[in-house]
């Protein structure tokens, strides 16, 4: 039991034909989110976590994501789950893409970024793995302790009688008020896990697109490094990259990359085409429009 992770399909190992069939089919409910799935995919292949065959894992992970989306269900919860998976999936995709490209020298910042995002993903995965192992230990302790029951019984009458006479002067009405307060449904604590932490408090694709649009309008053509020079977190970098992809789709800009892994040049072609409202619709669930969740989804939280 060193670094193994309990596999929900471990029973398959007993069947040779199941082992041959490496296709991805899992009981989704058995998993605890993207890291759990990723860990499973890696351990199912008996791979060293630091040398993951990214291409294979990525494909299966994306398949899993599709299955997750197809499952449907409670709107906000789905959104949470899906976005968590998306972060992992997009990082994996990034890495897979990098693998497919010819290996070159470490040319510039983007390479470092790619490495960084890989390291970040692995760091998070390792971290999750460590906690999962700790959880197994705690679970073991918890179960073992369940076999012992502590003594906790009411006081013997002779000692109970020693207790100082209770000062208990509350009117029935006051008492009812206490009951009312205690029985009232508690307001749900504010959820901190919207997609807020994905985009940071206030990083949105639409906003970043507007900002990029502004920069490009001023300079015409800029390389990617320059566009992210003032980004203070990885998140902003990621969001700007997504924004650029969107702008490319809207034919606002074009890309040019003369050399493999070389400088990525971004040029403005048609400034008027930019439609940031569409970006809000697609990405920004904290805006007023909620296209990603069914209208009136239950349990919607107030982010504020």
């Amino acid at each position: 039991m060193t670094a193994t992770v309990t596999s929900p399909v471990a029973s398959d190992d007993a069947q040779p034909e199941a082992a041959a069939d490496r296709r991805f089919h899992l009981e989704l409910e058995n998993f605890n989110g993207p890291f759990d799935v990723l860990l499973h995919l890696i351990t199912a292949r008996e791979l060293d976590i630091t040398e993951v065959a990214l291409a294979e894992v990525t494909d299966e992970f994306i398949a899993h994501l599709r299955a997750l989306q197809a499952r449907g269900g409670d709107g906000l919860k789905m959104l949470d789950e899906t976005t968590e998976f998306l972060v992992v999936a997009s990082t994996l995709l990034d890495l897979k893409a990098a693998r497919l490209l010819p290996r070159g020298e470490m040319a510039d910042d983007e390479d470092f970024e790619l490495l960084e995002s890989r390291d970040l993903l692995f760091a998070r995965l390792l971290q999750y793995k460590a906690f999962k192992e700790a959880a197994a230990l705690l679970g073991h302790n918890y179960d073992a302790e369940s076999a012992r029951v502590p003594r906790e019984v009411a006081l013997e009458p002779r000692f109970a009688a020693l207790l100082p006479e209770l000062v208990f002067s509350i009117s029935p009405e006051e008492f009812a008020a206490v009951a009312r307060k205690a029985l009232e449904p508690k307001p749900e604590p504010v959820t901190e896990v919207g997609i807020g932490h994905l985009h940071g408090a206030n990083v949105t694709i639409a906003e970043e697109a507007r900002a990029l649009h502004g920069k490009l309008s001023a300079h015409g053509t800029l390389d990617f490094g320059a566009l992210i020079a003032d980004a203070d977190t990885q998140l902003v970098v990621v969001v700007r990259f997504l924004a650029l992809l969107e702008m490319f789709r809207q034919k606002v800009i074009t890309f040019d990359q003369p050399d493999p892994l070389g400088v990525l040049l971004v040029s403005l072609v048609d400034a008027a085409r930019l439609d940031t409202d569409a970006l809000d619709d697609d990405y920004d669930a904290s805006a007023d429009r909620h296209r990603l969740q069914p209208a009136g989804a239950d349990g919607e939280q107030d982010h504020g």
């Binding site: 029951v149 502590p150 003594r151 013997e156 000692f159 100082p164 029935p172 008492f175 205690a182 029985l183």
Partner: protein, 196 residues
């Protein structure tokens, strides 16, 4: 019973088994019940308990606890010689006032009785074990008679509670507002929480 009872296959045997069960017994346990638990004849239970009680009274030293047979069964009690020390433990830090937590818990029990600790915890959002014990010790609540269904212990308020509130019956408790969730809603709330 042709087979050796399970308890006789354990190192401490019936004596230790009885010690274990009685240690956590909140009220006296009858010999019949113990016979059922250990799957042995009642006479063996009686003999074993008498031997234990005897042992505690002084085979090597009088223990700090004694095993006594009271009305409905057997229970551990502290030995009277050490009452001073026990009192000073019990009285240390005791106040004459009910804490806010105790009062709220009492209110939940009063309006939802009979109710289990699990349900109270779910309603209050915190573990209530120690507060429930305080209320028991204060005589404000008592365990609801065992339904024999193996379910969790349920709690209810006592006559003393009514006395202290100046009420003659529970019906005199002021009604709560109509928008509070009914018992049915709480059921589903609980299962949502405990199935997690």
């Amino acid at each position: 019973m042709a087979e050796t009872p399970r308890i006789d296959q354990l190192p401490g045997g019936l004596a230790s088994g009885l010690e274990a069960v009685l240690l956590v017994a909140d009220q006296p346990v009858s010999e019949a019940r113990l016979a059922q638990i250990f799957e042995v004849e009642e006479i063996r239970i009686t003999e074993a308990l008498l031997a234990l009680a005897n042992e505690y009274d002084g085979r090597d030293r009088p223990r700090g606890f004694e095993l006594r047979h009271v009305a409905s069964g057997w229970r551990f009690y502290t030995r009277v010689d050490y009452a001073d020390f026990v009192s000073s433990y019990v009285l240390d830090g005791q106040t004459a006032r009910l804490s806010q937590a105790a009062l709220e818990t009492l209110a939940v029990i009063a309006y939802r009785q009979p109710v289990s600790r699990g349900r109270i915890s779910a309603i209050r959002g915190v573990n209530v074990d120690s507060v429930v014990r305080t209320l028991l010790n204060r005589g404000l609540i008592s365990a609801y008679p065992d339904l024999g269904d193996g379910g969790a212990t349920l709690y209810q308020t006592t006559e003393y509670f009514l006395e202290r509130m100046g009420l003659s019956s529970l019906e005199e408790l002021p009604p709560l507002s109509p928008h509070l969730p009914g018992v049915a809603d709480l059921e589903s709330l609980d299962s949502a929480i405990f199935d997690d």
